[in-house]
């Protein structure tokens, strides 16, 4: 979706302000919101693309006014409510009021380190052949789906060069909607600064995105 999360190339946010000796978390609730989001992925059975969409799928003004973990927490609440694992009145009351819905698994403390160490690799076997090879000129398609996509607006319609064939990876646009992993060939595609930003671009700059084959056409 063309939401506020797609920030590349926007103006007006001011300078980057690094915080010296920044702590990993800035408040107790950030720790809990972070851990709850990771832990609930197992019983609630959502994937990373669904949670990314839950974070970006909000009023742009709201997105830009929320802190990072406020967005995480809002997305966590909405995903739990969508799946009827938690209801508003329970959050208001601060206690379980409704019957527990059966869930496949719960993340136990014994499993945490193994689950983190295993991660969630997204490369998949395929019988298909990659359509592009390194050096090929490709154009990022002009797509504007209302659903989740990982093709940023600032490259759409622009011509770049395939730098690397990464492999066949889970396709977020499908995975986010529950339509399945639908693995697709993934490429690192490099664009010249001048191609992306015209005369306002820096000619000594190149930018790459990782783009799945359905995002690309020959140029």
């Amino acid at each position: 979706m063309n939401g506020a999360q797609d920030l590349g190339g926007m103006h007006g946010f001011g300078p980057v302000e690094p915080e010296p000796n920044e702590p990993v978390f800035h408040a107790e609730w950030e720790k809990r919101a972070f851990a709850l989001t990771l832990a609930m992925a197992m019983p609630a059975d959502w994937n990373i693309d669904m949670s990314r969409f839950a974070r970006e799928n909000r009023d742009p003004a709201e997105y830009l006014s929320m802190s990072y973990y406020q967005i995480w927490f809002a997305a966590l609440e909405s995903m739990l409510k969508e799946r009827a694992l938690v209801a508003d009145d329970e959050i208001e009351a601060g206690h379980a009021l409704h019957e527990r819905k059966p869930v496949p698994r719960v993340l136990s403390s014994d499993d945490v380190l193994n689950v983190l160490h295993r991660g969630g690799p997204t490369e998949r076997d395929t019988n298909t052949k990659a359509s592009f090879k390194p050096g090929d000129k490709v154009r990022a398609k002009n797509i504007n789906p209302l659903t989740h996509t990982r093709l940023p607006r600032y490259v759409r319609g622009h011509v770049g060069t395939v730098e690397r064939v990464v492999g066949c990876h889970v396709f977020p646009d499908s995975n986010a909607t529950g339509a399945g992993e639908n693995p697709q060939w993934l490429y690192t595609v490099r664009f010249d600064g001048a191609e992306l930003w015209g005369v306002d671009g820096d000619p000594t700059t190149q930018v790459s995105v990782d783009a799945w084959e359905p995002y690309l056409e020959p140029a």
Binding site: M10, S65, S67, G119, P121, T205, S208
Partner: protein, 211 residues
Amino acid sequence: MTHAHDHHHHDHDHSELSETQLRVRALETVLTEKGYVDPAALDLLVETYEKKVGPRNGARVVAKAWADPAYRARLFKDATPAIAELGYAGRQGEHIVALENTPKRHNMVVCTLCSCYPWPVLGLPPVWYKSAPYRSRAVSDPRGVLKDFGVTLPKDSEIRVWDSTSEIRYLVVPMRPEGTEGWSEEQLAELITRDSMIGTGLPKSPKDVAR
């Protein structure tokens, strides 16, 4: 962003709970009562990313790449297994690519769409990495962003920005500073900052660390 304010507020007034704090606490209670989460698992998740996994991991990888040519070759050929040799692997680092800085080319990593970052080697990202100013300008004005960090590169040095739009995670391997001949990997690691592995900084000078 509101973080600086929140930080101040929460640090100095623990009795007054914000609406968000109360809501997070309420949700944790509900999920615990329903048996969907194990509070000990939550504690361990927090402890892992607060205390164990952080940029010192990445610094060990880079120091080894500086000191050991065979390791360096493995790292640039296929970083994920090379990094796993040191015990770092898993979530948000399932597919890692190492990027080589040279006198002619400086690499810089961003995620314009969210906050993708190589957790096993760098830990959780700092607030600025996730912020609108960085995500908006890193791809259109990387030299301006570097200036915000106090970094100026030679004009003829090319800047290559990597927007982390897939599950591939990028780790910048900065150039080894001159004057570090004969240093051990442990000594070299002291020079390697988090920002130098994102590409918004450079390694410390040998003069800045006590040998």
